[in-house]
Each structure stands twice: as C-alpha cells, then as structure tokens.
C-alpha cells in the first residue's frame, strides 16, 4: 500500500549534521498521547451511569482497544517498517483521533456499540501503529544506546496516563461544574463526550507534530565514536539481519514472547487490583487501615514506578545486557512476589516497596524488549518483529485479569477479602515468572540460516530512492 509522497520514507532521510536528539521528543509526542489508554478509569463510572450499563460492559471498551493494539501492531508492523515513521505516526494520529471522535458520537447518541467501534477498534488500531511507529527509528538513531532510546519513548506511554488522568478530571470539571473530581462525584455523559472531542483534537495536533519532525538516518550514518564491531563483541548481539517472517519461525522469538507474556501477566496482576489490594491486605474485619485516598496515592506511586522503570531499567540494559536484565525482572521479581505473598501484610511500607519494585520491572520489561529484539534479529525489520511480539501483551491483558479476578471471585466478596485471599493468585504469578525466567535462560543467538543476504540494507535505505535532494 503506497503512501502520499509527503509521508514517504524517502522524504524524511536526515541530511548530515541533523541532531538526533530531535527524534526522542518526536517519539514522545506519539507515546504521551496514546498512553491515555491507561487513564480510562477516570470516566469509567460516568459511562456506566450514562449508558445504565455495568462495569464489565464498559471495561470491554478498554479490552477491545488492547486486543486491537496487539493485532494491529502484528498486522501493520511490516507496513510501518517499509513506509517509515512519518507515515506510521500520521496514520496512528488519524486512527487515535478518529477513535475519540467516533466514541464521542457514541456517547452523545447513547450508542455503546459506537464507543466500542470508535475508541475500541479505531483507537486500538491507532494504539498499535503508534506504539511501534518510532521504535525501529530510535534504534537506528541510537545504535550505541538502543535501550536508552526505546526506554525514553516507551516511558512516554506510561507518562501519557499521568498526564491524561488529571487533565481529564480538569476538563470534565469545566464541562460539568457539578463534578469536582473527588470520590463520589461522577461527571455527566455529555461532559465525557466533550472530553473525547477535546482529547481527539489535542492528540491529533500533538501527534502530527511528532510525525512532521521525525527523520530517519541515512543508511551509512553512524554516531560519532560508534563502532558496530564493538557491539558484536557482546554475547547474543548480532550485526546480521532477520526478516519478520523468518523471525517468527525461530525459537528465540517464541521464547521472548513467553518472557514478555509472563512478565506482563504478573505485573497486570498487581496493576489491575492495586487500590482494592492494598486495602484488603490491611483489612481488619469490615474496615481497612488503608483509607481510599491513601489507596489512590498508592496507585499514583505505582504509575510513577511503572514509568521510571521503563527508562531506568531499559537504559541499564545497555550496560549489563538484555538477557541479564530480564533475569533480574523475572528472578528478582519472583522473589519479590513470594515476599509480597508471605510478609506483604506485615507493614504498609513493606507492601508498598515490594509492589513498587515489581511494577518497575513490569515497565522495564516493556521498554527493554525492542532492544532485545534488535540484539537477536538486527535492525532490518525490528519494528515488524516488535509488532508481532506485542501479541504477548494482548494475551497477557486477557490472562492477567482472568487469573486475579478468577481467584478473588472464588475466595470471597469484594470488600471482605484479606491478604490470604490473594495468596493463590500471587503464587500463580510466581509460577509464571519462573516459566519466564527459564524461557529467558534458554535464549541463544539466532541460527545463521535465518540471516538475510549480506547486501540487505535496513529499510532506512536512501539508496532505493536515488533522490538525495529530497532529504531533510
């Protein structure tokens, strides 16, 4: 599928002297917007009331969006790699924005299916394309620090929720003055519809800014002082290239899929239940020693560690290597989960510290995986391979809540649960992390038979265009 010439990869090849530090904000402009997907709880109650529906029915909107994220990243990954980041960011902006506008129409006309289609399907496609759009470009601009580069962008996905939550509350307060953002007040459906229109327009502008400043490096570009032969010296890191179609035939891809699935499922186990979990862990009869406001603060703290983990751990992986950092995420994570299950209810500060570190590993797992893929499969179609790997996220998005909710449903009624009721779910997560740990240990360098011919250039290649004057 061809794209208009102003979006084409050949039009955005950077001239010599281009400052590569313009690329991270371009990536952040996209990820900060699509990160709103993790701030849907702000208007969830309002939609339940507006549609006279259930939490489950409204929760499906988010579930559809995450499933569509995984599917669209897998399906459009090769298209993204072929056409470049500007076309991908532009397309993501259109879908993401259209999702909000169609969703607003659905709210205004009280047609829930339109919200499913708008925010869920259209928005989900925007999420998937937007999520992978800057990744391979960042890896090519920062071959010396791929973990740092992708960590910065994917940190933005975590940061997007931090921005969208207070911003949404503020906007809904303007559109419905009876709503003040405190517990117990709910904005009107009309206020949520206006919020969707506002976010749709703001995100469109913001993401387009990223699309129009992004550039790809020329094929022979290298950062000062960077010697690719030094990269090869590290174990597991290849200077060869593997296509996306071949990558999924390798055991390394599926082992990494398992690693991501286990890490994300375990993290979602805590994220999904964060606020009620801390209250239940410190329940004394019918009341908890942890107030609702304190529980909300705990959720905020987890968001901070989720975001910080993406940047800090992914950057650290540039120094200690991808396989060792996943041994930390999964191995130390496993120990922390055991501690959470056994001594987590002895003191609030122990519970908070354990959960915060676990969530930082969850974020780190997301942010480090593109660099791990680069190490194993090269840069040729790393965006497409990353897209296919994100199906693990979609699967974990279903499995994680199913495990935690399934166990808790079997143990009792919300509001009456205690720390002991969470133990079976936490030990299931321990088992999952053990599986992920073993899968990571089994990852070896990719066999030579999967390598592309030596003259296969990464798709940043300007050589295919022959038109150097088009470079910016």
């Amino acid at each position: 599928m061809a794209v208009p010439s102003f979006l084409a990869r050949e039009r955005i090849i950077a001239r010599p002297g281009f400052n590569r530090w313009l690329i991270p904000p371009a990536a952040l402009a996209v990820h900060l917007c699509i990160g709103q997907a993790y701030a849907t709880s702000v208007y969830k109650a309002a939609l339940v009331s507006h549609f006279e529906s259930s939490l489950t029915a409204i929760g499906i909107i988010f579930s559809i969006a995450i499933v569509m994220l995984g599917l669209s990243a897998a399906v459009f990954g090769t298209w993204v790699d072929r056409n470049g980041p500007r076309a991908a960011m532009f397309t993501a902006a259109c879908f993401w924005s259209a999702g909000f506008l169609v969703g607003a129409l659905g709210i205004s006309t009280e047609q829930l299916w339109l919200v499913y289609f708008g925010y869920g399907v259209l928005g989900g496609i925007g999420l998937g394309i937007g999520y992978i759009s800057p990744v391979s470009t960042l890896i090519k601009w920062f071959p010396d620090r791929p973990g740092l580069a992708t960590g910065m962008a994917i940190m933005g996905f975590g940061g997007g929720a931090l921005i969208a939550s207070p911003l949404s509350r503020q906007l809904m307060n303007w559109y419905d003055p009876t709503y003040d953002g405190t517990i117990g007040t709910t904005p009107s459906g009309s206020a949520v519809a206006q919020l969707f229109v506002t976010l749709g327009i703001v995100y469109l502008v913001f993401m387009m800014f990223g699309a129009f400043i992004v550039r790809v490096p020329a094929p022979d570009w290298r950062p000062d002082g960077f010697d690719p032969s030094q990269v090869k010296a590290k174990s597991l890191v290849t200077t060869e290239n593997v296509s996306a179609n071949n990558a999924i035939k390798t055991p390394q891809f599926w082992l990494l899929w398992t690693v991501l699935f286990c890490n994300v499922t375990a993290g979602i186990g805590i994220l999904e239940q964060a606020a009620p979990m801390i209250q239940d862990f410190f329940r004394n009869g019918e009341t908890s020693t942890v107030l609702a406001a304190t529980a909300a603060g705990f959720v905020g703290l987890l968001s901070l560690f989720n975001m910080a983990g993406r940047f800090v751990w992914s950057s650290t992986s540039d120094y200690i290597g991808r396989k060792p950092i996943y041994m930390v995420y999964l191995g130390v994570g496993l120990v922390l989960y055991v501690l959470l299950a056994t001594v987590g209810s002895t003191a609030t500060w122990i519970f908070v510290i354990l959960a915060a570190i676990i969530i930082s590993f969850y974020g780190g797992g997301f942010a480090t995986v593109p660099a791990y893929l680069r190490d194993l499969f090269g840069t040729y179609q790393v965006g497409a391979i990353h897209g296919r790997l994100l199906t693990a996220w979609a699967a974990a998005g279903i499995a994680g809540p199913l495990i935690i909710n399934g166990v808790l449903d079997a143990r009792g009624t919300p509001g009456e649960l205690t720390a002991g009721d969470y133990r079976p779910a936490l030990f299931i997560m321990v088992g999952l992390l053990a599986v992920g740990f073993v899968a990571n240990l089994m990852i070896k360098p990719v066999a030579e038979k999967w390598f592309e011919p030596k003259n296969t250039d990464v798709p940043t290649a300007a050589s295919t265009t022959g038109d150097r004057n088009l470079t910016r």
């Binding site: 010599p16 002297g17 400052n19 020329a218 004057n469």
Partner: protein, 49 residues
Amino acid sequence: MSTPRHAGDQQATTNTPTGLVAFAWALVGVPLAYGLYNTVKAASALFGG
C-alpha cells in the same frame, strides 16, 4: 549532538536549530512535568496518612 558521517555525499549538510530541539523537548516535557506533579501530589497521600 552527534555529527553524522555520510560517505561520499554530495548533499548539503544541515544544522538543526537548537531552538527547535529545545522547543520539541519543552512541548513534551511540560505536559509530562504537569502529569508528574499531579501524580506525586496524589501519591503523597500514601505518606501523609
């Protein structure tokens, strides 16, 4: 800033304006700072009781 090397090129070099780089970082940094401030404020309830 890193200076790219472009073997045998005939094309003009560019010099990305520092102001553009600063503006781009500010555009993403200011909303992020707003989000961080509000989240830290919310999280402080955890320590303030």
